[in-house]
Symmetry: C2
């Protein structure tokens, strides 16, 4: 069942709550792929009822980003959800989520703002305000759906860490379930933005996972010096790869590491042409 | 029953929810007086169960404010709550609310930030960051208690407007119940901070309500020019009164008014000695 209004969702949720059913939420921006599907499957298995939200959230796009051209495939998304046993696809309009005239600046809208220490690095450095928009919309979705569990992919690792922090800091009564990255055969982590890649670029794009797998292999062999591990990465890069960051940080609090250990997560972002790709791996 | 931990409260709330009982929350900083009691009574009447939180929230005090000397009277508060039929007094420590080492800066804590347009005026102008702290703690309390209704006094009018805006913007499933100001015989609005007033200051303090009642009387007689209404106030002030603001604004969105109408709320703040007092009145 596809619903477009907050009121209709609340009505359905209320009935489920009365029956004592558990509710899973999979928040998405649509353009669903096998990565999303793995989250959905996990929710359908774990929860009595599953809600998938499909909402291209304007306030998490920065100026100059791809809000207008972000892929929108609602009919296909709905079919995929139905086939997977989803109970509600919640696909609101921006107006439904942010009100008449939907003035999206922090002059007129209450925001949920993650801690500066968590956003002044990695993707937050180039995508200023992005995680404010993410936390705000996820908070709204939590309040609308009131799920017992919410499922997030580990591919957007900084997002996952920030949302877990938000849930803890604000005492939100939702359990966050992280789900492993789904990859193509060549290692490329699935992303809705992979659609922007040409066939040629796609071949280049496997470099992210290659670098990460290599670092993990080196770590497993006993190399823990972050400088040494970083240097092993450079040999994989060529003129098509515009590296934004390659960083070793604590998997919980994002503190930087100089010596890798089991709690170290490695984060990479690079551009191929105009397409910005991210990936990550946990060493432990 | 007094509870000090989030876990204990959640446990009790869970049972009530299972039984389908409605829950009212009265968030306070303690030092309860007849104003709080009127909120508590309303909740006890309206809801199956009532929770009163007593928490002097450090993150809503600005540097130089009265965090340390703010009155703390938990034993008396508990007795008053018990007598009024409250089911839970929730009195957490700062550590319980903000964690080990409770680092309270926005470097390390997720904040709920009200819109700038709502906080750059009235009390927000001198109390920078105050409403960020209020919204954050109220959001936390809502997530912990998951009330159906929450009761707020109209005395802190800007706070009430900002919380209503937060609830709307973040789709929080709580209904906010505003409660009228309770006044002493001479018109002084009840406040925990009235304890700071000497007997002599207390006599001076009735000037706030006197100014507001006079403006309302003038408005009722047909005077709507805000400049003229403002000027009627000045005759009541003497050298003991240090006026911070006297403003006419929309009761919902805080836009400034030049002509008073039924949606106009008048806000006043002034200092007597070192004690800062606020009051307000709705003209319509």
């Amino acid at each position: 069942m596809i619903l477009h209004t907050i009121e209709d969702v609340r009505e359905q949720i209320k009935n489920w709550k009365k029956e004592g059913l558990t509710i899973g939420l999979v928040p998405t921006m649509g353009a669903l792929h096998a990565g999303h599907l793995s989250l959905i499957k996990k929710s359908v298995e774990k929860c009595d009822r599953t809600v998938v939200s499909v909402f291209v959230n304007p306030i998490q796009f920065c100026p100059g980003e791809d809000l207008d051209k972000y892929p929108r495939t609602l009919d296909a998304d709905e079919k995929l959800c139905n086939d997977a046993g989803v109970n509600i696809v919640f696909a609101p309009s921006p107006k439904e989520m942010y009100g008449e005239g939907h003035i999206l600046s922090n002059d007129f809208l209450t925001y949920v703002i993650p801690p500066y220490f968590y956003v002044d690095k990695l993707c937050g450095k180039s995508r200023v305000g992005h995680f404010d928009g993410v936390c705000t919309v996820v908070n709204k979705l939590f309040n609308i759906v009131q799920p017992d569990y919410a499922f997030f992919g580990q591919k957007d690792a900084q997002q996952l860490i920030i949302i877990k922090k938000m849930v803890k800091d604000l005492n939100i009564p939702v359990e966050i379930i992280p789900c492993p990255i789904v990859r193509e055969e060549n290692g490329l982590a699935l992303s809705s933005r992979n659609k922007y890649l040409s066939e040629e670029d796609k071949k280049e794009a496997f470099v992210l996972s290659r670098i990460l797998f290599n670092i993990k292999a080196c770590y497993d062999k006993g190399i823990t010096d972050v400088k040494a591990l970083t240097e092993t990465a450079y040999s994989f890069l060529n003129e098509h790869h515009n590296l934004e960051y390659l960083e070793f940080r604590d998997k919980e609090n994002l503190e930087g590491k100089t010596v890798a250990d089991k709690d170290t997560q490695v984060f990479i972002a690079l551009k191929i042409g105009n397409v910005r790709l991210i990936d990550n791996i946990l060493l432990g």
